[in-house]
């Protein structure tokens, strides 16, 4: 009985043939709709920070050092390649590439940093039209994420200690 079952197993194994994929020698074709790492095109980016507001992992940081400049930093370390940044980008500046071989010894290799020139409106001095109600709650004025320690921060006008502004929400992620 046992010998017979072993023989049957051997037959099944022989029938299956060789299944090992020749990966290192020859790359396999990627499946359709595969999303690899996002690539940021600085020439197309207008710096609206829609990607930063939509990132579920909150790893696209925005920092405005002054009125004319916006730093957009993509960390890449906890990116799940969900593609929401590419979906929401109005200028199609973010493309989900087919790169998946991203293994590295330094985590900083995965980052991308754009320092964008923001030309301002001559009349009002701001870059864009006023924010809606939800944007008003989330962020007021400049956005100042903590680029040094790579953190996303809701910063509002309540910067003075113990002096919260009216209608301000007490969100502090730290």
């Amino acid at each position: 009985m046992s010998v017979l079952s072993k023989l049957e197993e051997t037959l099944i194994c022989l029938k299956a043939g060789r299944v090992t994929l020749p990966y290192p020698a020859q790359a396999q074709p990627l499946p359709e709709n595969f999303r690899g790492r996002p690539i940021f095109d600085a020439a197309k980016c207008i710096g609206c920070a829609g990607c930063a507001n939509n990132c579920p992992a909150r790893e696209i940081l925005v920092f405005d050092p002054c009125q004319e400049m916006r730093i957009l930093q993509y960390l890449g370390r906890r990116c799940t390649y969900c593609g929401r940044c590419a979906d929401v980008c109005p200028e199609k500046a973010i493309t989900m590439s087919l790169e998946f071989e991203n293994a590295t010894g330094q985590i900083a290799d995965l980052g991308q940093k754009l320092e964008l020139f923001m030309s301002t409106c001559q009349r009002c001095g701001r870059c864009f039209k006023g924010a809606g109600v939800i944007e008003d709650l989330k962020m007021k004025g400049y956005r100042a994420d903590d680029i040094q320690s790579e953190r996303w921060i809701y910063r509002s006008r309540a910067f003075l200690e113990g002096q919260p502004v009216v209608d301000d929400i007490p969100i502090e992620l730290d």
Binding site: V19, T20, L21, Y23, P24, A27, Q28, R37, F40, A42, P56, A57, R58, E59, D64, P65, C66, Q67, E68, M69, L75, G76, R77, R78, C79, T80, Y81, C82, E99, F100, E101, N102, A103, T104, G105, Q106, I107, A108, D109, L110, G111, Q112, K113, L114, E115, L116, F117, Y142, A144, R155, R157, F159, L160, Q163, L173
Partner: protein
């Protein structure tokens, strides 16, 4: 130096220990997929072992969590001396989507020193094999940091620290410079 040491010490075969410290099981399945006949890494001498005391490499999946950080650290300390740690998946590399919840401490590098990072959610089995090949020095890494500058920085910076309070008003001290 690390590369030379790796080639010398780990040239023949790697025995890997598979440590999940609270991931969603996606990366575990990809790692096990690497070990199945389809990707058959035993061709390269990579073998899964059950105890960290037999292992050369620890494959970490999942973020460092409050409940499992100590166990992960103990498993790392139980490994014999020339040891490598791979962080597989975006949870292990950077904490994952839930990096700021109460139970997650962050990436596994907060608990154990990580040598190689394989991002992805989950990474493809090919990406894991590629990461091992990068660690062994067989191939070069393909990623490099990208930085793009449209203008230089002599522009005076806005900083909230320069704001001060003056008679029910908030005044920015360096206003004329900005």
């Amino acid at each position: 130096m690390l590369k030379n040491l790796c080639q010398k010490m780990f040239g023949r075969s790697l025995w890997v220990y598979h440590a999940n410290s609270g991931g969603c099981n996606g990366c575990d399945i990809e790692v096990l997929n690497v070990l199945t006949p389809y990707y058959d890494v035993e061709r390269f001498g990579i073998k899964l072992v059950g105890s960290p005391r037999h292992a050369d490499v620890m494959l970490c999946q999942g973020p460092a969590m409050r409940s499992t950080a100590r166990a992960l650290r103990r498993a790392y300390e139980a490994m014999p001396a020339p040891k490598l740690v791979f962080a597989i998946g975006s949870c292990a590399c950077g904490g994952g989507v839930w990096f700021d919840t109460y139970s997650v401490l962050g990436p596994v590098e907060k608990v154990v020193p990580v040598n190689y990072y394989i991002p992805g959610c989950p990474p493809r089995p090919e990406a894991i094999i590629y990461g091992v090949a990068v660690a062994l020095g067989l191939v070069d890494k393909k990623t490099a940091p990208v930085q793009f500058k449209q203008m230089e920085f002599p522009i005076p910076q806005y900083h909230p620290g320069d704001l001060r309070r003056e008679q029910d008003m908030v005044v920015y001290e360096k206003l004329e410079k900005v």
